[in-house]
Point group: C2
Chain length 445, copies 2
């Protein structure tokens, strides 16, 4: 049998192709919108005019936040299993270099997958060898437990730099959290348009971290439920409704500054407490929200639309218009009843009901087999980035969990909050023993 | 905020668009290769010349076997929870009609997702409303327990039609099966290029089956590990190696007849026992194979290649050549040692070592979070179609589990065998109370 000439799975430069071109110089061309859209697309071959699917890892902010939401996610929360500050820094340095390489579509290490030396383990695991970069972004966050562990220990000498807002999320009404899906010292969000590329990235970070970091939990999401750019069509969640219509989009530059990025004035900077390292960063909230889809599927269309406050087909508010029409909560219909139920999801989640608070959401649909009782374990892996979780997430979730008609069909089973540092500056040298690394400001006095 | 005009996620006709065109007639054009390649692609608009991403549900054989392997799978095993033969037949009739609709990119039911009546549950759940058919195929199989349940009962009056080869798979060396991932009365393999379309299909079959069928277990696979057409590039598994190089391809028409489809001479037809209903069908073997990837990742490239018997980069046998060169097991190198280890995977799985037996494989990579011990729960969801599991699967797996060097890195955690009936004939009327349904011959005396 002979091999016919075959196109690669995606018509882009592959990892191996990139290696060959590396010597010719990789040119990154800025394509970011103004205001916080920090990602750029790089062309592997400076002479090729076609856009590639590479988002540069470096930039003022980490990629994977305002980057147009990719189709798939593999999210992992790691426990740091060393007590050595030097080893933690070494880990972050190695992870930064690998992240920068993998987001360019290169192997995780210099040697690559397959070219020896034969008597050592490969420094890339290989399953993404023939795949393009697929828009991979890797976004790192630090959890409260990295600063002070469960025993109250300051393992890494950074307890005094823990931001006041970085707390364990409070218990919300009807939470059904599973400890094995909560917390973690460091979170890594791997988003890509090919799930194999996202899984490959997390797996190689775990491989590199062996002895220093251990996967606490991870979650695969297969379908994005938010748009983060006006250039993207609004996707649907597993309730069958369009989700994220009023999400913060990267093009809303003022909203991104006001509601996503931690600003200089948010920091406390005293001798005892200094959180200035987080300026330019954000907070990442993750919630694994199981939907009781079998029950939902037996509710009427009228009830479903009442709960959401929008029509199922177009996503327009029940007060009329199209998907992007502002809901009119005052408008009443027959019997002087409001057209949008005040306990609907759209009414309770609206910024007007929450002191103007919005979030930049990046959620994904998940389906993790079944629960042993004949029901699919499926729902929403909620991810949101906010400047201030104390005003933009905690009160909103308290309201929704208590009053939202939708809550009857939701069960929160996983949870975490992480502080996401600013980006590794463009032009930094990564790798080696003195490379620049993500979150470096946290470790500099 | 106004909505900019946006392209749909895939540049194909959406479900809703299809509905509008249905009245104009849906023309199916045959595009199957000779010999068992039963799938056809339909154009929604007879005047449009562009190929669509629809595989017709009807045909001599079920689609989803020789169909070029799609990128994603959602596999579900159902328990039948009714004891009524009439209800089982009704279920199969309803499932057939829904499958035919969904594989065309239409909603699962006539009313669709979103158009009322408002006081009934929608007859489609909606999350695939804006997505194309995405190459969806739905393939149905009947397990041993459908014929005779755990208590030995012949619930549906079909025990005498159970093929002799349809048995519970034996215990293999080093099996670590979890009961909650094994068996099931009816299996449904949903393959599609968009995972949301595959999940949507299984979920709607579960919804339609409420009260008659209950999901016993299900498995999401995100990356195909086999090609079933010479037109497809060979993908990689989570060991980082190319997988399925010597898989049966649909273009091998004689091999497909000999090794995949159950032939008339395979049937027993006596008054007491009649398995002729399975002619034109196949047997589906599914195995959830966890890989100990953390251990694998710390083994040397030399060891990895020795275990597989091929090079990691090109997939060529260690006896030389390129990916599609036949391995030469007699060739020796230094010290007169064979270049390909006789205990390597390629040597033990080769047809020459197994009486000429081959399989048509359709496996997928899976990653299901972590195991609570800091390791990813990841591996291969193995799916194979064979004409005779007693010669083409059971002895091969016995050999591999006992002798294959690779077995050290594998743990089989899920398992099942199902008899896959022939296809619903092209031109059949489905739906209503007398529609043709998948597996109908099993219920006809």
């Amino acid at each position: 049998m002979t091999a016919p000439p075959e196109p690669a799975r995606a018509p882009q430069v592959t990892r191996r192709g990139l290696l060959g071109l590396a010597g010719a110089g990789i040119a990154a061309i800025g394509a970011g919108a103004a205001g916080g859209f920090a990602t750029a697309r790089a062309t592997e071959n400076p002479t090729a005019a076609a856009a590639s699917d590479v988002y540069e890892f470096t930039g003022a902010h980490q990629a994977g936040i305002t980057t147009p939401a990719q189709d798939r996610v593999h999210f992992a929360a790691f426990d740091i299993v060393t007590d050595s500050r030097e080893e933690l820094v070494e880990l972050l340095r190695d992870w930064t270099d690998a992240a920068r390489r993998m987001t360019r579509g290169e192997p995780a290490g210099e040697l690559g997958t397959t070219s020896g030396p034969y008597d050592a383990p490969p420094d890339d695991t290989g399953e993404a060898e023939d795949l393009s970069a697929s828009g991979l972004t890797l976004t790192f966050g630090f959890g409260p437990s990295l600063f002070t562990d469960a025993g109250g220990e300051d393992r890494f000498g950074i307890a005094h730099r823990k931001p006041d807002l970085l707390v364990d999320l409070p218990h919300f009404p009807a939470d059904a959290l599973e400890d094995a899906r909560c917390g973690g010292d460091i979170a890594v969000q791997a988003c890509a348009d090919d799930p194999q590329v996202a899984v490959h990235a997390i797996r190689n970070l775990a491989r590199i971290g062996f002895g220093k970091a251990s996967v606490r939990w991870s979650q695969l999401g297969y379908g994005r439920t938010s748009s983060t750019s006006t250039q993207q069509v609004t996707p649907r969640n597993l309730f069958g409704f369009k989700d994220g219509t009023s999400n913060i989009k990267s093009e809303e530059t003022q909203a991104v500054e006001d509601q996503v990025w931690v600003q200089p004035e948010d920091a406390t900077s005293t001798d005892e407490h200094d959180s200035a390292w987080l300026t330019g960063g954000s907070y990442l909230v993750a919630r694994r929200i199981r939907m009781t889809i079998e029950t939902w599927d037996r509710s009427s269309l009228r009830e479903q639309e009442t709960i959401v406050g929008r029509t199922k087909h177009t996503g327009a508010p029940l007060s009329g218009g199209d998907e992007f029409t502002e809901p009119d909560f005052a408008l009443t219909g027959r019997g002087d009843e409001p057209l949008i139920d005040p306990a609907s999801h759209v009414a309770l989640a609206h910024p007007d009901a929450n002191g103007g608070a919005r979030m930049l959401r990046r959620g994904y649909n998940y389906t993790d087999g079944s629960d042993g009782l004949g029901r699919l374990d499926a729902g929403l892996f909620f991810i949101a980035y906010v400047r201030n979780p104390a005003t933009q997430y905690i009160p909103v979730q308290n309201t929704l969990a208590r009053d939202d008609l939708m809550s009857e069909y939701l069960r929160h089973t996983g949870s975490g909050l992480w502080a996401v540092p600013a980006g590794v500056p463009t032009g930094s040298t990564t790798g080696g023993t003195d490379g620049v690394f993500v979150g470096q400001a946290l470790f500099e006095e």
